[in-house]
């Protein structure tokens, strides 16, 4: 059991009052998580006491900064159980991580007529980078269907795999349905020898991650959804694979030698980290990882699953609420609509009740088109949420329905 009161005390923003002095009920962690005081304080302390550029100077501050930055890399490696810290690349976001793979992989391996498989429920950040590659290399992007529970239609997925398939890139935990990818899908790719990227934006903060047990070749996630600051993302790739990939961006910090004729590049991981990295943000990510690890990822996961099931149970009792993929195995995320009320209205109404939820297409327009929906409302849970908050959310939903159908 988590000591929720203690955890809530760690997050200064939870004391905030909304509008008419309503308690903040933050149910939008899937968009971005709030930050514990230790992360905020440590960032402040880094800038106040240790800050300089990394991997360049030889003076004391540069050494301290470099040490803190590289220490964060070790923490990430341990957090996702990667083999080596050489497999951990810091980026500015998960979006940049996917763009990194798309560009480097395509440059090396993609030719006209090749195929890349995604699913219709991907976030735009796992679609658009591949569209850009398609336009440049004249390859094809195939979309696997989903079933009514919000899981990948495995038969359809299997039917898309052929000798033309060069890469599979799919969400690990859907930001709309809250469903976790079936291990069979990953196994299928492994068996066919097709590299697979799992987009871990929604999974890294909510379930324990072991990239080796998952069997994924690439894994990406963002810091800000894991209680860390904005501006830092992670790209993980199996060492033997990313050894072979060309650099994504060129700049300082990633070269071995430069002359007017050309350049040779450094080894992993610096090869993929051109320019001054988000070093303080990466350090903040390390602090956030320590924070969640101390609570325990399994305990957090269990707590959030309990909240999800509690909310699902309460929401299913409301006949005016449509839950999307209601029968899927959800974790931390529930998307829904109130019959005949646009999600914007729901979100604005709940806002003045103090309840922060997301409304819109969730950067998943292909999925919205697939579901014939314009937009949905979404609640998502973090380590700090409670069943009491869900009760308030449910009663706000009732008030909202009454208000708009009076």
């Amino acid at each position: 059991m988590l000591d929720i009161k203690k955890i809530r005390d760690d997050f200064p923003i939870l004391d905030k009052k909304i509008l008419d002095n309503k308690d903040l009920i933050y149910l939008d962690t899937a968009a971005s998580a709030q930050k514990p005081k230790v992360v905020i304080d440590e960032i402040n302390s880094f800038y106040s006491n240790n800050y300089a550029n990394v991997s360049r100077g030889v003076h004391t501050l540069s050494v301290e900064s470099t040490f803190k930055y590289e220490d964060a890399r070790k923490k990430v490696q341990k957090f996702i159980n990667a083999d080596s810290e050489r497999e951990i690349i810091f980026t500015k976001s998960a979006t940049e991580s996917i763009n990194l793979l798309a560009n480097s992989f395509a440059l090396k391996y993609i030719n006209e007529g090749d195929e890349i498989i995604l699913t219709v429920m991907e976030h735009h950040s796992n679609i658009i980078p591949w569209f850009l590659i398609r336009d440049r290399y004249k390859c094809n992007i195939l979309f696997a269907n989903i079933d009514s529970t919000g899981n990948i239609d495995q038969k359809h997925f299997e039917s898309l795999i052929s000798e033309k398939t060069k890469l599979v890139s799919i969400t690990h935990l859907s930001n709309v349905f809250g469903t976790i990818v079936n291990q069979d899908i990953v196994n299928l790719c492994n068996k066919a020898g097709i590299p697979i990227l799992l987009d871990g934006c929604q999974s890294a903060a909510h379930i324990p991650i072991d990239v080796k047990a998952l069997g994924c070749d690439y894994y990406v996630f963002s810091g800000h959804k894991l209680y860390a600051p904005t501006g830092v993302g992670v790209f993980y790739g199996r060492e033997n694979l990313i050894e072979e990939l060309p650099p994504y961006q060129g700049g300082g910090g990633m070269i071995a030698d430069v002359s007017t004729d050309g350049a040779t590049f450094t080894d992993l991981p610096a090869k993929f980290e051109a320019g001054t990295p988000p070093l303080v943000e990466a350090y903040g990510l390390g602090v956030a990882i320590d924070y969640v690890t101390e609570i325990g990822m399994s305990e957090i996961s269990e707590h959030e699953l309990k909240l999800t099931n509690y909310a699902l149970h309460k929401m299913k009792e409301l006949d005016f609420v449509d839950i999307h993929g209601a029968n899927g195995n959800k974790h931390s995320i529930i998307s829904f609509n109130i019959k005949n009320i646009h999600s914007h209205e729901v979100s604005s109404f709940l806002d003045v009740e103090g309840v922060a939820i997301r409304a819109g297409h969730h950067c998943c327009q292909p999925l919205m088109k697939h579901l014939s929906l314009n937009s949905t409302a979404r609640v998502s849970f973090g380590v700090y949420n409670t069943e009491n908050e869900i009760d308030t959310f449910i009663s706000a939903l009732k008030k909202c329905r009454d208000f708009f159908t009076k």
């Binding site: 509008l19 008419d20 646009h342 999600s343 914007h344 209205e345 604005s348 109404f349 806002d351 003045v352 009740e353 409304a359 819109g360 297409h361 327009q365 919205m368 314009n374 937009s375 208000f403 708009f404």
Partner: protein, 144 residues
Amino acid sequence: MNDLIKELYQEIILDHGQSPRNFGECDPHNRSADGHNPLCGDNLKLTFFINNEDVIEDIKFTGEGCAISLASASLMTEKLKGKKIHDAEEIFSDFTNLVSGTNEDLKVLNEEDSLYALKGVGGFPMRVKCATMAWHAFKSALKS
């Protein structure tokens, strides 16, 4: 009930949101434009007919969206129908000031106008785009 919500969702907004007026496509029309809110996916198509005397003879829209965007489009068509282009442009400018919460003096709109009901959007900055989507479509159709 919170006053901001009451202010945002006045009776007339809910009414026009649920039963938008002038919903459809003008036949014939000589101006058209699409409105789109990339943040949420709401969209509309606006068509209108301007006659030889620069008067908007007919104006209609279709599309899908939240109560605010539909009501705003619906009230806009009611307001602009029969107006000269020059007058319509003045209303456009007043309306965008009204809903963006700026305290600019309004030139042609006043509290008697049905459009005034959308003033409450100013209290919800993230919803301003919902209220102005149809209006920006109108402006871009004028330019086309």
